[in-house]
C-alpha cells in the first residue's frame, strides 16, 4: 500500500527515468555547467510576481521559443494555479515544467482529500523544491526547470538545485527577460514600495513591455493572475486556451 506522499515520489522517479534514457551531456570533458546554465535560450521566458496591498500578482508572457530562436507559439500559458490559494509559474523546459506542475497539483489535492485540510504554504514550497532538486540531472542535460511559486502573501523562487529564495522585497522574476523587467519594477517601487492593486497592475504591465522590448524570447501576449485571501482570479488573459493549455487542478 502506498503511504502518504509516496505517490508523488514514485511519479517523479518515473518522469526522471524517461529522460535519463536520453544521451547525457555530462561526461564530456569540455562541459561547463555554469556556462551552460547562463545560455538564455534555456529559459527564454519572462514570469514576474509582484506584491500589492492585499495580494500578489503572478504573470507570464505567452511565447514558447526553441533553441534556434524559432518561435513555436505566442499563446502558451506559463502560470498555473495549483491549489485554491497558490499558483506556479515556470521557466525552462516547458514539458518538464508542466509535468512538475501537474504532479504538484495532484499531490496537493491528494493531501487535501486524505487529511481534510489544505497543505501549508511552507510544505507546498518544500514539496516543489524537493521535486526540482530531483530534476538536477535533467538540468545538467539542459532540461532546466526553474519555477516561481506564490501564495497571496509570499513569493518564492526555486533554483535548479532545490534552493528556495523568498522574494521579501515584494517582487520576483524568472526567465531571460526578467532582469530587464525587474530593473523597471525596482525603479517604480522606489517611490511607492507598497502599491495598491491598480498601481501594481500598471507596474507589472510596464515591466512586461520592457522585457518584450529587450528580450527576443518574451512575447507580448500576457496571462496574469491575482492571488488574494478570497481566491485566485484572472487579471488579464491574452493567451486564451493556448496549445499547452490545461487546468492543473
Amino acid at each position: 500500500m502506498l503511504t502518504r506522499l509516496e505517490l508523488t515520489w514514485r511519479l517523479m522517479d518515473e518522469l526522471i527515468a524517461q529522460f535519463l534514457k536520453l544521451p547525457s551531456a555530462i561526461g564530456q570533458s569540455d562541459f561547463k555547467l555554469e556556462e551552460y546554465l547562463q545560455q538564455s535560450h534555456l529559459h527564454g521566458t519572462t514570469v514576474l510576481a509582484l506584491k500589492y496591498q492585499g495580494g500578489v500578482l503572478l504573470g507570464g508572457d505567452g511565447r514558447a521559443s526553441g533553441m534556434d530562436f524559432r518561435i513555436f507559439t505566442d499563446k502558451t500559458p506559463k502560470v498555473y494555479p495549483v491549489s485554491e490559494s497558490t499558483a506556479y509559474g515556470l521557466s525552462g523546459d516547458a514539458h518538464l515544467g508542466i509535468e512538475v506542475g501537474k504532479i504538484l497539483a495532484l499531490t496537493l489535492k491528494n493531501y487535501e482529500k486524505k487529511e481534510f485540510r489544505a497543505m501549508s504554504f511552507v510544505a507546498q514550497t518544500k514539496m516543489l523544491a524537493k521535486m526540482i532538486e530531483r530534476l538536477l540531472p535533467m538540468a545538467m542535460q539542459g532540461r532546466i526547470v526553474m519555477p516561481i511559486f506564490v501564495s497571496c502573501q509570499e513569493i518564492c523562487t526555486i533554483y535548479p538545485n532545490g534552493m528556495v529564495v523568498r522574494g521579501d522585497e515584494g517582487y520576483g522574476g524568472i526567465g531571460s527577460g526578467s532582469p530587464h523587467a525587474i530593473h523597471r519594477i525596482k525603479a517604480r517601487l522606489a517611490d511607492n514600495p507598497n502599491p495598491d492593486k491598480t498601481r501594481a497592475i500598471e507596474i507589472i504591465l510596464e515591466a512586461f513591455a520592457e522585457a518584450h522590448k529587450s528580450d527576443a524570447a518574451t512575447g507580448s501576449n500576457l496571462l496574469i493572475y491575482s492571488l488574494e485571501e478570497s481566491g485566485i482570479a484572472i487579471v488579464r488573459n491574452d493567451v486564451g486556451n493556448g496549445p499547452f493549455s490545461m487546468n492543473l487542478l
Binding site: L2, R4, N110, K113, F116, L249
Partner: protein, 234 residues
C-alpha cells in the same frame, strides 16, 4: 466462518448508517457520526470523503479499518487521473477493485473480515445518471440509481430504505431533502440504538450528523463538506 462472524458481530451492529440521496442540487451524503461532540466540534473521525471531482465516499464501521482503504483508494484514483485524464475515471471498475479487496479478506480462512461498509456516489449533470454503489464487508456490491443506505444493522438499513423509498428526492433542494432524511431517521428510531450503545446517562438523545454534498452544476471539484449539525432533531 460462523466463529469469525461472531467475533465481529458486535462491531458490525454498532456501525451506524450513512445515507446518500440524489437531489436537484446534487448528491447529499448524511452520516450519523458519534465522534462529533459539541465541546470539540472540529476534530472528529470523518465518515464522508472526497475521492475524485465527481465521486464521493461514505464509510462506516471501524475507522481504523476503513481509513487505510480510503487512502489507498484515493491514491489509485489520483494515479489513474494523472495517467489517463480526469474524465476517464469509471466508478464501476473502481468499485469492483475495492470490493475485491474486501472479498479477499472475507474469504481468507486465516483472517477476520474487516468491519467496513462503503457507499460510492457518482454525480452527473443529468440526475438520472447518478450512480450509487453499496459495498458490504463480504465484498458484494450493488448499484442503485436514486439513493442508498449503508450500515451494520441489516434491519435498520432495510427500514431506512423503506422509509426513504417513498420520498421524491429528485425534486427537492438539499435542505428539504435533509429534513426528509431526518424524519426518516426519526421514524426508524436509531436513537434507541444510540442509547443502547452508550450506557452512561450523558448520552445525546439524537446523534450528530456529518453532511457533504456533490454540487451538480459545478465544473471541476464538486465536493463540499457542509457544516455538521449537532443535536438538530430531538
Amino acid at each position: 466462518m460462523a466463529d469469525k462472524l461472531d467475533l465481529i458481530a458486535n462491531d458490525k451492529d454498532n456501525a451506524l448508517p450513512v445515507i446518500a440521496v440524489s437531489t436537484k442540487d446534487g448528491i447529499l451524503l448524511v452520516a450519523i457520526n458519534f465522534s462529533i461532540s459539541p465541546e470539540d466540534s472540529d476534530t472528529y473521525i470523518h465518515k464522508l470523503s472526497e475521492i475524485h471531482d465527481n465521486i464521493g465516499m461514505g464509510a462506516c464501521g471501524n475507522s481504523s479499518e476503513y481509513d487505510p482503504l480510503r487512502r489507498q483508494f484515493i491514491d489509485v484514483v489520483d494515479r489513474l487521473a494523472y495517467e489517463l485524464s480526469k474524465d476517464d475515471i469509471v466508478l464501476k471498475s473502481l468499485a469492483n477493485s475495492l470490493a475485491g479487496e474486501l472479498r479477499d479478506v472475507y474469504r481468507n480462512p486465516r483472517l477476520v473480515p474487516r468491519v467496513v461498509f462503503f457507499v460510492l456516489v457518482e454525480c452527473q449533470e443529468d440526475s438520472k445518471r447518478d450512480r450509487f454503489v453499496r459495498i458490504g464487508l463480504d465484498g458484494k456490491f450493488k448499484i442503485f440509481n436514486n439513493f442508498t443506505v449503508i450500515g451494520g444493522n441489516d434491519k435498520e438499513v432495510g427500514a431506512l430504505m423503506d422509509n426513504l423509498r417513498s420520498v421524491e428526492f429528485l425534486e427537492m433542494d438539499w435542505p428539504t431533502a435533509l429534513t426528509a432524511i431526518k424524519e426518516a431517521i426519526k421514524k426508524t428510531n436509531i436513537a434507541r440504538i444510540a442509547g443502547a450503545k452508550k450506557s452512561d446517562k450523558t448520552v445525546e438523545p439524537f446523534p450528530s450528523l456529518e453532511l457533504a454534498i456533490l454540487w451538480r452544476g459545478r465544473t471541476g471539484r464538486k465536493w463540499q463538506l457542509l457544516p455538521h449539525q449537532i443535536k438538530e432533531v430531538k
